[in-house]
């Protein structure tokens, strides 16, 4: 199972209580990993309102995850 470096921002960071964690998971995609984490940490945002970036680039929800990837979950943005 891959070990991932997971980063959280904004509402996810607050709900997780930290901005980063390393974890080993059976989840093969960002969508699957988000559902796993959402169940574990009680994230209020449903997966269809969260995007993901892997290694600092936006990816699709069904993109593959590889050992050592840095994954960031991106809540709905609100710049400006």
């Amino acid at each position: 199972m891959p070990t991932l470096d997971v980063h959280y921002f904004a509402i996810l960071r607050e709900q997780r209580g930290q901005s980063q964690e390393k974890l080993t998971t059976a989840a093969a995609t960002p969508a699957a990993l988000y559902e796993e984490l959402r169940a574990r940490h009680g994230f209020t945002l449903p997966g269809n309102r969260v995007r993901a970036a892997v290694n600092d680039a936006f990816v699709e929800a069904a993109a593959p995850l590889r050992d050592g990837d840095r994954i960031v979950f991106i809540p709905p943005v609100a710049g400006g």
């Binding site: 921002f9 960071r13 969508a31 995007r51 600092d56 809540p75 709905p76 943005v77 609100a78 710049g79």
Partner: protein
């Protein structure tokens, strides 16, 4: 050249605009986003911006490049604040120059519209009554966009 930056310090619009000076330019359009004292009826006391810096800067540079490809621009620059901002502070500055004003207006608007929609930056409002809220992160309704993750 075109630049997009995040800034933890106050933005100096006059200095930014000077970087766009160009004797070929006939038009300079700027957009400033200011922290306002009310949002959807609620009195606001201050704002916090948090950014995923690496990706925000890459995406900001992409937006400026897209604007340059779509419009006849001479220059473009944008800066977005991060951190805690007081009422009236400058949160985002966009400036573009062009020979003609139509391109300058259209490009400036394109940049701020895309920046608001795409940059991984989050805004937390602090209200006068002490409450806070991450904007767009309420969980009523369902506004998933392209790339959002469907329920597993």
């Amino acid at each position: 050249m075109d630049t997009f930056r995040l800034s933890p310090q106050g933005i100096d619009p006059a200095a930014l605009q000077r970087t766009l000076a160009d004797l070929r330019a006939g038009a300079c359009v700027t957009f400033e986003g200011w922290v306002r004292n009310r949002n959807e009826g609620q009195p606001v006391q201050s704002l916090e911006y948090e950014a995923y810096a690496v990706l925000a800067e890459a995406e900001g540079a992409r937006i400026l490049a897209e604007a340059r490809a779509r419009f006849a621009l001479l220059g473009a620059a944008a800066v977005h604040r991060v951190g805690h901002l007081a009422l009236g502070e400058l949160a985002v500055w966009v400036g573009v120059t062009a020979e003609h004003r139509g391109d300058a207006f259209d490009a400036c608007r394109y940049i701020i519209d895309e920046a608001k929609a795409r940059l991984p930056i989050w805004k937390k409002e602090h209200y006068v009554d002490g409450a806070t809220a991450w904007i767009n992160c309420a969980t009523r309704g369902d506004h998933g966009g392209a790339g959002a993750m469907p329920p597993a």
